[in-house]
């Protein structure tokens, strides 16, 4: 098995002793097939046990190990070391406060996610005994790609609008709201509109499109946001020009 020598430049921040973050370098040898997360695990186990970062599944499913790798939001478990030359710079996800080292404070995203009610609000609620809500493959296809979101927040780290306007509800939250709005079983669009059709919702987006480019699950939040804008525009015209169409 071939090995390669790599150098990681990791952002370190200890809230108990540091007034500002600093970079620390680790030179290690590692197998060709390692990802950045493997290298961090190796550093933590054998070089510096004080290094803090989040991870869980190591297979791009849990969405915990999002970080900036050479300035680009990536899942550390999906970023192969062989794809990088020279010193690899590893920083916590951009646009989120740093809790410690590579660990960020994600409260803002969690609160925004809850605001869009990302769960089924049945159109026709029925008792459990009445059986499941059935759906055709075509109805599933309408929202499937938006349901692939793993809440990794790479899209927030890629979005300059979120960096400049922290009130912006952001790509993943809007994509997940759209996922439920597109669901044939759901009747909660009206309730979600208050959050996603507002200025701080879809209209804050100027279609940079970075969210969709960095999404590890190909969710396409940028597409979801533009579709929310179109539906909100149709809503507005219906309400003002054809009020009789509204119930």
């Amino acid at each position: 098995m071939s090995e390669r020598a790599i150098e990681l430049e990791v952002l370190r921040y200890n809230p108990e002793t540091d007034s500002a973050p600093r970079f620390q370098r680790y030179a290690i040898a590692c197998p060709e097939e390692w990802v950045v997360l493997d290298a961090l695990n190796h550093v933590k186990e054998s070089v510096d046990p004080t290094l803090s970062y989040r991870w869980s599944c190591h297979m791009a499913v849990c969405g915990s190990c999002g970080m900036m790798i050479n300035g680009e939001p990536k899942l550390a478990c999906k970023a192969f070391l062989r794809d990088y030359d020279g010193v690899i710079r590893v920083e916590p996800l951009a646009h989120f406060p740093v809790e410690r080292d590579l660990v960020t404070v994600i409260d803002d995203f969690m609160a925004k996610l809850a605001r869009v009610r990302p769960y089924l609000m049945p159109k026709d609620a029925k008792a459990i005994e009445a059986g499941e809500y059935r759906q055709t493959p075509a109805e599933l296809a309408r929202f499937k790609r938006y349901s692939m979101c793993i809440n990794c927040m790479l899209c927030y780290a890629a979005c300059p609008e979120y960096a400049l306007i922290p009130k912006y509800i952001g790509p993943a939250a809007i994509a997940l709201a759209h996922r439920w709005n597109q669901d044939s079983r759901d009747g909660g669009r009206e309730a979600r509109q208050a959050e996603i059709a507002a200025t701080e919702g879809a209209w804050e987006c100027s279609f940079v499109g970075a969210c969709s480019e960095v999404c590890p699950e190909h969710v396409d939040p940028a597409g979801a946001i533009q579709q929310v804008k179109i539906r909100s525009t149709v809503d507005w015209y219906t309400r003002h020009l054809m009020p009789w169409l509204k119930k």
Binding site: P15, L164, V208, D220
Partner: protein
């Protein structure tokens, strides 16, 4: 008993550096800046209409101004930016207007292609009305 945790999150400053973090942000900013040229050209056309209304001398002076080197440079730039905006924008249309047929979606190229087709047809119609051929 739980140990007291010292929360002191560090907020890293947001600077304009993000524009150069990845080429996609530069491409985006170029698209945003295209509005200056397109807006400028629109104002020039409004001013041209005013000159047309003011009489033949004012109109001739306006046409003379359009032939100046500065005006030609501006028009070449405005055309380049307008084309860049249109092309990048039409390429994004499949994201905003996905068309589902059964379980599959119409290919992105077909949706963007339809926009390019209509763009070409309208441009040709304009040139025809302007007497270009």
């Amino acid at each position: 008993m739980a140990e007291k945790v010292n929360h002191k999150p560090y907020a890293r400053a947001v600077t304009s550096e993000w524009i150069f973090r990845h080429p996609r942000y530069v491409r985006y900013m170029v698209r945003e800046f295209s509005c200056l040229f397109i807006g400028g050209w629109t104002l020039l056309m409004v001013w041209g209409l005013k000159q047309l209304a003011a009489g033949p001398d004012a109109w001739a002076a306006f046409l003379e101004l359009l032939r100046s080197p500065a005006s030609i440079v501006f028009h070449v730039l405005a055309l380049a930016f307008a084309a860049y905006h249109s092309v990048t924008w039409f390429n994004l249309t499949p994201k905003a207007l996905p068309l589902q047929r059964g379980e599959a979606f119409v290919p992105d190229a077909a949706i963007a292609g339809a926009h390019f087709g209509v763009w070409a047809a309208l441009s040709l119609a304009m040139l025809y009305l302007a007497g270009a051929f």
